[in-house]
Symmetry: C2
Subunit: 303 residues, 2 copies
Amino acid sequence: MNDIARFEPVHNIAAVERDTGIAKDTLRVWERRYGFPTPARDANGERLYAPEQVDKLRLIRRLLDHGRRPARIVGASADELARMLDECLATSAAAPGCDGSLLELVRLHRSVELAQALRHALMKQGLQRFVADTVAPLAAAVGEAWMRGEVDVPEEHLFTEQVQNVLRGAIGAQAASGGRPRVLLTTFPEEEHVLGLLMAEAMLVPEGACCVSLGTRTPLADIRSAAVAGGFDIVGLSFSIAYPARQAIEGLLALREMLPTTVDIWAGGAAVRDKQKRLPGVRVVGDLDGTLAALQQWRAQHS
Amino acid sequence: MNDIARFEPVHNIAAVERDTGIAKDTLRVWERRYGFPTPARDANGERLYAPEQVDKLRLIRRLLDHGRRPARIVGASADELARMLDECLATSAAAPGCDGSLLELVRLHRSVELAQALRHALMKQGLQRFVADTVAPLAAAVGEAWMRGEVDVPEEHLFTEQVQNVLRGAIGAQAASGGRPRVLLTTFPEEEHVLGLLMAEAMLVPEGACCVSLGTRTPLADIRSAAVAGGFDIVGLSFSIAYPARQAIEGLLALREMLPTTVDIWAGGAAVRDKQKRLPGVRVVGDLDGTLAALQQWRAQHS
DNA sequence: ATCTAAGTTTGTCCTGGACAAAGCGGAGGG
DNA sequence: CCCTCCGCTTTGTCCAGGACAAACTTAGAT
């Protein structure tokens, strides 16, 4: 019975890649260059990572997502990392307009209350204001709390699920069929965050636009063929903060060349904010209300 | 202007891994052992895969998912592959009870019709029969059509999105709060198909069960902590046909040991079907109606 | 202040070897 | 006849350590 009492005390390199999002090659090269992580080895010489090191790697990953460079943080002690994290949070601290009461409901045992509160806010504010003023700030607050370690993986998952339930229900109820413009929404293959797409759709549909979402992770060539075959006016892409800006820009420019000039490209999300000047031919949408502005502009040009 | 007219004519190894789901290490070892694929090399000696080879790899991947072994198919010609595919489809051909008219709507330009048809079927049949008699067969038919090459990536994505919209809206409208049993639904970290979870939830919620879905890809340790912290009676896991059966069994047994015996584990999906005897302590749910049977049984035991 | 050029950091890819887990097939027992 | 056990083959993953281009930083020039 070799299974008894095994609460996954160690992880192999594939599990660490999965849990931290850091590639196997990168983990090995960090070990070589910075002396961290320092996994034990099994009888066959394969790496076995201790849970504390995995936690530390997750923390490092978050700091990298916020723009730090590996040389300064991969070799750092837990104390130094914690200090950097505080610093990092301080800069973005001005978490605007998110009333904390909803954040408190992002707990496993309060999921039902969260769902009710979201639905209530939706009814009170209407879909667009609900998305822009409630969901978006709440999502930012959850991301920050997650970084701070106050929210777990399951709670973050749960939050995403609940918001999806509410938004998809509301979007489905609108069902504008023949509207213009026709907007195709999706993400690049490496991006799996779906909330940005749903929020954009929730802003556009009430304005009478005809949105078709492909969900996440669509290969570039398929985006092109779908946009052409479906007769779309606009392709909308969403990029979370974890998406490498350089990759976003390269992909967007490549897509711009693949698509006919009659199809507009809109890009939104933290990874492309303030990158308008490096993206000729692409409309960078700074925030959710920017989506509405872009829509008005499009309609003015096509009337 | 080195970007002109580049429709991604070749893919590097990372792109192929992303597009086919075959690991880089595996691609290299296939090349070494079976002489396929045979990518060109760039100036730096790095592999450049031609689009036709990527297509062939996708086909190989599908055949592997259906139980073929690599030795017989990785080296095979395109003709032989096509023949095997036909064979493969013939065995599962008895596609039961799926009226083809819905399948025809899984086209980009007919997305609005698909959404309407789904909602109409939902209204007519009620949530549970809609899921068991319409969505499940349709999902199987789409999977088959995708394998046959009659459906593209974007269309498969679109289908998933539309079904999610309808199911999430319907589930949200039921919102049973205090019901029993309390069921936690999710998948293991390598499994990203969400429809199985949603269908299970759609079967359970109308029966008054209190379902909480964490979506896909929850680490084992987090499933445990969530189940314990949330006071759940049942943990439900879903496994698509592409999930390695061995891995599913190992994970389920490990989870069984981590969870208190008061928490039941239910497992459903193609990867665990007919594996009940290898899964002591886990309830294998064969199909969607099996979910209802399991629920009745649970209630009989806890009354 | 914005741009360019040289220098440094960093992730990804390579080869070729090794091995354990998964699957297959035959032998033996209920 | 069905099931289980056991040896053999297949197959995916891991390793080391080297290489290099892309990304970033810094310094200098316009």
